[in-house]
């Protein structure tokens, strides 16, 4: 009888000690913010285009963490969906066409500068401050910073902003994958 009592007392003591340690650790090493949001945000393309209907990538990341679908990001496309599915342990879904189609390649905004009237509307629309200019002064896009989000095109009253594909140069070119041919497909030719 006493041995049972000893065991109970011992276990209870251990439980209290470990409970105290855990409780202390929970307070002492508390993680600020939600780490999963940052991880999701890291996978999103950061175009800040708002095509997902959230005002930027971070808000969409927060929404995903709260249970929103992962297939609403056209700039990220399939690769982002797969990466998100990997991270969150869910099945990848095809891109939701409602939010737009996947871009063919990276784009960059280009202001036709002689047509610009200096209204600053595109500057206000740019989510990452990648347009330079002042009222009644010509504006221009910092091409290296532009994410190609498209948001400056619509507000322009004189339609002087074009989205142009980023050109491949010798500096940023890289080899294509070899054609996926194997010997057995020889006969097909």
């Amino acid at each position: 009888m006493s041995s049972i009592l000893i065991a109970i007392v011992l276990l209870a003591t251990l439980a209290i000690i470990f409970g105290a340690i855990l409780g202390f650790a929970a307070v002492r090493f508390k993680v600020e913010g939600n780490p999963i949001v940052d991880q999701i945000d890291h996978l999103l393309p950061q175009t800040q285009c708002g095509q997902c209907s959230y005002p930027g990538c971070k808000p969409y990341a927060e929404a995903i963490a709260a249970g929103e679908k992962i297939n609403k990001c056209p700039p990220g496309g399939e690769s982002t969906i797969i990466a998100l599915a990997d991270l969150l342990g869910v099945d990848p879904e095809p891109l939701d066409a409602e939010h737009g189609a996947e871009n063919e390649g990276p784009m960059v905004a280009l202001i036709r500068e002689d047509e610009c009237i200096g209204c600053t509307k595109c500057i206000q629309a740019c989510p990452i401050d990648a347009i330079m200019g002042a009222a009644k002064q010509m504006h221009t896009v910092i091409a290296d910073e532009c994410t190609g989000c498209d948001l400056c095109v619509e507000p322009c009253p004189v339609d002087c902003i074009d989205m142009v594909p980023i050109e491949t140069t010798v500096q940023n070119w890289h080899w294509d994958k070899p054609a996926n041919l194997i010997a057995t497909s020889k006969e097909a030719h």
């Binding site: 990452i128 010798v170 890289h174 080899w175 070899p178 041919l181 010997a183 030719h189």
Partner: protein, 697 residues
Amino acid sequence: MQPITLHSFDGGIHPQENKHQSTQTAIAPLPLPAQLVIPVGQHIGAPADVIVAVGDLVLKGQVIAQPKGFVSAAVHAPSSGKIVAIEQRELPHSSGLEGTCVIIDTDGQDQWLEDIANGSREISDYLEADNDVLVNRIRDCGITGMGGAGFPTSVKMAVKDKQIDTLIINAAECEPYITADDMLMRERAIAAMHGIQILMKLTSADNCLIGIEDNKPEAIKAMEDALHSVHGEHHITVVTVPTKYPSGGEKQLIKILTGKEVPSGGIPSAIGIVCQNVGTCEAIYRAVAEGKPLISRITTITGESVEQPQNVEVLIGTPVKHLLAFAGFKQEKSLFQKLLGSFNASSNSESESKPRLIMGGPMMGFTLSSDELPILKSSNCILAPSQKELPANDIASACIRCGLCTEACPADLLPQQLYWFSKAGELDKAEQHNIADCIECGACSYVCPSEIPLVQYYRHAKGAIKEERATQLKSDRSRVRFEARQDRLDREAAEKEAKRQARAATAEKAQAAKKAAALAQQKEAAEEAAKNGDPANPDSGPPDSGSAESKAPEPIDLEKLQKQLDAAQAGLKKSMDKIAELKAEAENSDDPAAPIENIEVFEKAVATRRDKVKLLAQQITEAKKLAPPVKKEITRDDIEKKLRAQQDRIDKTQQRFQLAQEQGSETLPALQKGLDKQMQKLKELEADLAQFDKAGA
């Protein structure tokens, strides 16, 4: 000099050398081509900025493009002539993309720039010259690595994050067919050795190892002879290394000569080593000692499709076509082209007319899409093979996991794993398997029995990883910018809100002050009313003086009461001060009981005094009710005094007015107004006086 212990790297292959074909004749100067096509981006780094215009006449050695940024190199006119175009043209690059090219129609004079021709640019005492002078000269002369990659040499010399103890001269030339460095050493060993001396000085290295493969005995002899002829260079050693591909790889040669390994992802300078190609040394000597920029190089033209395989001194920008014509190129209608045509229908007609050309060697070179493309600073070989000699890649078979590629890999990687990862697009895993350390030597592809284009997969994967990195970097930057903008917007909104609140607060205060003023006015009015004996109705206006006049006067009583009231009020104030004092004392003292009693006493006194004050005030008001307000007698003198004063004031104003009029001052209308008012007052006073006189009469 102690003998050098040679080491070895793992893997490597022994392909057929095919070097003897092109070493039979001396280096031949190539006849001047009619047109030169000079790309401004021949090196690693930013393309140079064109500084000439179409129509300009240029002399041999004149700068046509300035380096842009730190990692860049100048480009010079290889011969005299006229600039006929600056346009986008296809580059001799594996991408087949276009880049800016300067096109020069040569005039046949081949006239040097004057200060190069008359030797004023020569630095003869280069071993005593300042290092900066030498590096600047190397930069100005557009010297880039001539082994293949084309890295600007001045950058390599200028960046010194670590003490360099060994300079390694790469003269291994391990790739089959290529003999440009071999021939250069045979014929220009002295110049190359002087170039090495300059590099020794620039790097302040303790010793120098010249690595030459043992299949070039003439070159080794020439270099040793050159070394003997240069006195006092005991720390330079010519080292014969066994022939094995790719012993000419930078990291492999370092391993062979020193036994040290360049850390993964690092550069040789991390272990105190700098590596330079022997051709670059010769170019450096020419740049420093003769002042001549890099405008020509030795290129091997070889392969079974040319009649006279040989090495030629060729101007940068010379179209390959010109080179082929010189060496006697014969177009081969081969089985290869028929085959190629059979499984690549779209390029059928093209492939018949286009010669099969490789720039660089058979292992690491790339196929040229046309013979119009120019020779670059880094083009060490043009290979025109026959079909039999170098069969085109057949279609790859499936990987049989034989492991030959792993045995052949000189970088100790796992080519098979890398192949799977690259093929499946698992870039992160490829990265974990150190794909970045792949030197793309092609040894794995060479040994692959399934003829899988392994290197192509690695090149693709490396490029994709690089692109992904760049994208990630850009997206990180976008995130930072987005967050900064969001913060800014929030801050602006907060500032606006704060301003709005501040404005609201001031408005409220003003409102409150107004109300308080109104209230005070009411109170004042009420008090006045009370003083005038109408406490019940404070809102009734000023008391009627007529009613007060009818009451009996009691002036003495009132004065007395007033005095008493003042005294009582002074006493009250004194008592209250005392209470405050005592209270403060009580708070400070440790024993609060003592003064409290006193406080009580004083409070009682205050209460009685208050009552007294109240009583007195009441008495006064009552007395006032009875007492008539003292009416001051107005005499005629008073009015006359006022009148005179007013007259004086008007005079003064008029003077000021006249002054203002003369000066045309802006205050004129204001003065006019003031004068009118004063006149009005004067008239009133005159009227008063008249009334008084009338009454008096």
